[in-house]
Amino acid sequence: MCATCGCGDTHTHSDEHQHRTVLLEQDVLAKNDHLAHANRHWLADRRVLAVNLMSSPGAGKTTLLERTIPELPISVIEGDQETQFDADRIRATGCAAIQINTGAGCHLDAEMVARALRELDPPTDSIVMIENVGNLVCPALFDLGEAAKIVITSVTEGADKPLKYPHMFRAANLVLLNKTDLLPYVEFDVDRFIADARKLNPDIVVLRLSATRGEGIADWLDWLRKRLAAHT
């Protein structure tokens, strides 16, 4: 290794340094953002509303989808590190679903979603639900071309999640507080949760619901219908 510049070569340096600096000034995520922009156009041309569902593992993303699918024209892109479990659950409802396995990856990116969209081939005036890999960190940074980012938190996770995972709550357009039927059995300060989420994102909308029991689902469906109508 060259001791002067630290590069892997064994060359020597004259007084005039042999390296030259090339300015790039390039956003690292430019490629992903470019592909996300293309996805957004592709979706707009078909009048398809895409939403990106993000949460920690086990917050209830797939159960919420199962509850939502019978009510609206929906197809689904499922992201998980491994297995077809979630796509199988979605297909069992009669809904079209594509499973993406990210392997070592902890999030979906725009290129994966572009491939899945073409395979899914969603009809005009419909909704594509993109269920991201269960993770409150990485998915926040990657634009997929979606119209809205939704973060789902369940009351069993604790009310401290917004301040622990600020990037996710800052990126989100909507927060769904799930498993509210369990509120009598857990210590979860709903007011603190909402106040902390608004410290990060003053305009954020928070809806409370129970995907298993059905409470609050009407408000969620109303939110989706309004977004679909505005989008198509």
Binding site: G6, V22, Q26, P166
Partner: protein, 109 residues
């Protein structure tokens, strides 16, 4: 661990812009509000560059802090995390800088 794919994106972008060029150094700018851990990028860099024209390259990372402006009182202030509260108490705050994730330059042999 999104830093692995971020680091891969850095290397891919450099190889796209400067194909067939031996790279001796890479200068990155990772703002403190970007959500990217610079130490993780350093850890991943040597793994990702192995077998490429960037192998052995030096990695320099500049980590500028964040600045924000309050929409209520127009004050500008430093921020080190995303809990953006103006000294006046308002949370209606816009981030001005600190979220950047950029390749500034590279050293070519």
């Amino acid at each position: 661990m999104h830093e692995l794919s971020i680091t891969q994106s850095v290397v891919d972008a450099v190889l796209d812009r400067l194909p067939d060029t031996r790279i001796a150094g890479v200068q990155l700018e990772i703002g403190k509000l970007s959500g990217i851990v610079a130490d993780s990028v350093r850890f991943c860099f040597d793994l990702v560059v192995a077998g490429t024209l960037l192998e052995g390259a030096r990695l320099d990372i500049d980590e500028p802090g964040g600045r924000a402006r309050c929409a209520e009182c127009d004050t500008e202030f430093d921020v080190d995390d995303l809990i953006l509260l103006c000294p006046c108490g308002s949370a209606n705050v816009a981030v001005l800088t600190g979220q950047q994730l950029r390749i500034r330059s590279v050293e070519v042999v």
